[in-house]
């Protein structure tokens, strides 16, 4: 095997897979990247059995072949290579020669037959969406990190594709048991395929995929067998799906009796930040009291002291008291782009819904704390 390839192509691809190849698994081969040379291109593949990546790049091919080589070391070698074109030659017995002449590395590779191939993508039916929209949805759902209880629905993000009013809506859901995040986007073109009723994709894998995502280019998505495929031109990421299903959540987001409280997003965030100054792990709740056009927020920490702040809101009716973890609130508000945010509060025991005043594509649900 012998080929010459542009340095930048390889460096970009290798930097994308470092996360995949650095993970500890039962098999040593996962630390390797597989380079397959065919016709006029090279295929770069990495696989840790949870997340996989494959990309192809143009190359000047002298002879075809396949090698497996430590991804981290190859990246370090290639990254600081002083020339723009890199010559790679397989010598024998998995020995690989990188460069020639003044600079030359000889590395021992591994048997490429041990490498587990990525699941086949050929027959998958893809739908296309804007990668920036996808990225935004991921940011909005990934804010909730994996829960400790190892339940599949807290370890993964749920992806749905449904048809609503003749339009295709892609929805992502994430929860850790205390809160839930729902992000939606409407595709510009209707997808004529069966709906995806809900699959769970590992949060870690999604994180890996966002690193690989190139903004501005459309992305093709397919769910096939046990895997989710994300393809952008020449690069494909494969993430293994989780067993199990996302729990039924519609009861948690429909509260017809909820009081709608309109707050300024930025001011409210700043206020909550002030309130959380005095909170600690043992005393993290901030208490919201709603009474006659006023919202009072206070946090009490017997070890440090207490703080209190008052804002004018539009509220009529009985006094209402509810406590939340301020961090959850701050994170939710941080993802709302509207100037004003609507808080839907029903009672001290029911969840609070947070959404933008006009942008209904994002909803955050936070369970209250016991006072």
């Amino acid at each position: 095997m012998k080929f010459t390839v542009k340095k930048q192509d390889v460096v970009d691809a290798l930097s994308k897979i470092q996360g995949i190849c650095s993970k500890k698994t039962s098999s040593v081969i996962t630390t390797c990247v597989l380079i397959r040379v065919e016709k006029d291109r090279i295929y770069i593949t990495a696989n840790d059995f949870e997340t996989g990546f494959e990309g192809y790049y143009p190359a000047d091919v002298e002879s075809e072949g396949v090698i497996a080589i430590n991804a981290r070391k190859l990246y370090e070698i290639v990254k600081d290579f002083p020339v723009d074109e890199i010559l790679v030659t397989e010598v024998e017995n998995f020995w690989i020669e990188i460069g020639r002449g003044n600079i030359q590395f000889n590395m021992v590779g591994m048997n490429p037959d041990d490498f587990t191939n990525l699941p086949c993508v050929e027959n998958a039916s893809f739908f296309t969406m804007d990668s920036s929209l996808l990225k935004k949805m991921i940011e909005r759902t990934q804010i909730i990190s994996a829960g400790d209880d190892k339940k599949p629905h807290t370890q993964g993000i749920c992806l749905q594709r449904v048809t609503v009013d003749e339009k295709t809506v892609v929805r992502m859901l994430s929860t850790d048991g205390n809160r839930l995040s729902k992000a939606e986007c409407v595709l510009s073109e209707k997808v004529n395929m069966d709906d995806i009723s809900g699959i769970l994709i590992l949060k870690k894998g999604i994180g890996e995929m966002t690193r690989i995502l190139i903004p501005g280019k459309p992305i093709d998505i397919a769910i096939e067998n046990n895997n989710a495929f994300f393809r952008q031109e020449n690069e494909t990421t494969v993430i293994r799906l989780l067993e199990g299903a996302f729990p039924e959540y519609s009861d948690y987001i429909t509260w017809p009796d909820a009081r709608k409280i309109r707050v300024n997003t930025k001011a409210c965030t700043a206020m909550l930040k002030r309130m959380s100054i005095l909170s600690s792990d043992d005393y993290k709740a901030v208490v919201f009291t709603l009474f006659e056009d006023k919202m009072t927020i206070r946090s009490t920490n017997p070890e440090l002291g207490e703080s209190r702040e008052e804002v004018q809101i539009d509220y009529q009716g009985d006094s209402l008291e509810v406590a939340f973890n301020p961090r959850y609130m701050i994170e939710a508000l941080g993802l709302i782009e509207d100037e004003y945010t609507i808080l839907h509060i029903t009672s001290g025991q029911t969840p609070c819904l947070i959404e933008g005043e006009t942008d209904k594509s994002y909803l955050n649900v936070i369970m209250p704390m016991r006072i």
């Binding site: 098999s27 949870e50 699941p119 190892k150 067993e243």
Partner: protein, 340 residues
């Protein structure tokens, strides 16, 4: 060679497994029991290959879109040459997960990692197989964590546990597994394995086979250079045991502790010797050390039956405390003082 054909002996267990395959019935969990070194893990791996061999199978490619667990087809004779069989044999298959004790026990972290892997759908296997070897070495935390999978096994997943003594496992685990007993191998079977698969000379193989108690694992340990000499020394010591002073016995104890790998066998021999003496007392002739029969009969006259039984109990207690992580030095000194 792979598959069940390579497993010598164990016809009963393999028959039961083949019936499972033929009847398209996959239990949630299997528990293989029997002394170590008789092919429990090898059989488990072969069973995994039986379900995942991809050469010329009925269902397409890797079978991810295949039927649910209820009708996954296996075959009693995996080819051993397809990519799936090879990966399973080399321990590279992403869906055949092997868990063995780290150091002396299986800890909860290992089980948690397994839970994490099982939370995902299988990578490519028709039937994912998680093999927990020496499951009786699982501590109680790990055992309870494993119960979770046994209670709600994921789809298309089979759990195989291997253990020497099911009584050392949590009863809640044993009750959730289909148990399959593996028998010690016969002398001729062991000799056959030793000569054919490990190239050991027939004479030596026969000697070892008669001593290893039906375990290939043990037999291979015995094949270590110096083992036979060590055994001869041990036997010589046993022959003159009743004439040894306390100091000498303590010295012997120290020597035994110095090679921890042989400690188990040393305790065996101490026990077998007394067992043979008991046999002699009751006029039986089934000796473990038939070549020393005269010495045994002679020595037996110097002990009473209750003395011998007390000694055996003492050895048994030593083993028990050792497994409960007692101080080996103190235990050995204690034993040597008591085995007069």
């Amino acid at each position: 060679m792979s598959g069940f054909a390579s497993i010598i002996g164990q016809l009963h267990a393999i028959g039961a497994l083949t019936r499972l395959i033929d009847n398209h019935r996959i239990p949630n969990a299997l528990l293989f029991t029997g002394i170590r070194g008789i092919g429990k893990r090898t059989t488990a791996v072969a069973f995994a290959s039986a379900y995942n061999c991809v050469s010329d199978t009925q269902s397409p490619s890797s079978g991810n879109n295949g039927p649910s667990t209820a009708c996954i087809d296996g075959r009693a004779t995996p080819c051993g040459s397809c990519s799936s069989c090879k990966k399973i044999e080399n321990g590279q298959h992403p869906d055949v997960i092997l868990i063995r004790p780290e150091k002396s026990e299986i800890v909860i972290d290992q089980i948690r990692r397994l839970l994490q892997i099982l939370a995902m759908k299988p990578y490519e296997a028709r039937l994912r197989v998680a093999i927990v070897t020496q499951a009786d070495q699982m501590n109680s935390f790990a055992g309870n964590a494993l119960l979770k999978i046994l209670e709600e096994p994921p789809d298309k997943t089979l759990l195989i546990l291997t253990a020497e003594q099911p009584s050392n496992l949590l009863p809640t685990i044993v009750s959730r597994c289909q148990q399959l007993r593996f028998r010690p191998l016969s002398r001729s079977e062991i000799a056959d394995i030793l000569t054919r698969q490990h190239g050991i000379h027939a004479n030596q193989a026969a000697t070892i086979a008669s001593l290893c108690g039906g375990s290939v694992g043990k037999a291979l340990e015995m094949n270590d250079p110096g083992w036979l000499e060590w055994r001869d020394w041990m036997l010589d010591t046993l022959c003159c045991w009743d004439r040894l002073t306390v100091n000498v016995r303590l010295g012997i104890g120290e020597k035994l502790l110095a090679s921890p790998t042989k400690l188990d066998q040393a305790l065996d021999m101490l026990a077998y010797w007394r067992r043979d003496m008991l046999m002699a007392k009751f006029g039986k002739t089934t000796f473990i050390y038939p070549d020393k029969v005269n010495l045994i009969i002679q020595a037996a006259t110097r002990y009473t039956v209750s003395d011998l039984i007390a000694c055996l109990e003492e050895i048994h207690r030593m083993r028990h405390y050792l497994s409960a992580r007692g101080n080996p030095k103190l235990l050995m000194d204690n034993l040597m003082l008591k085995l007069a």
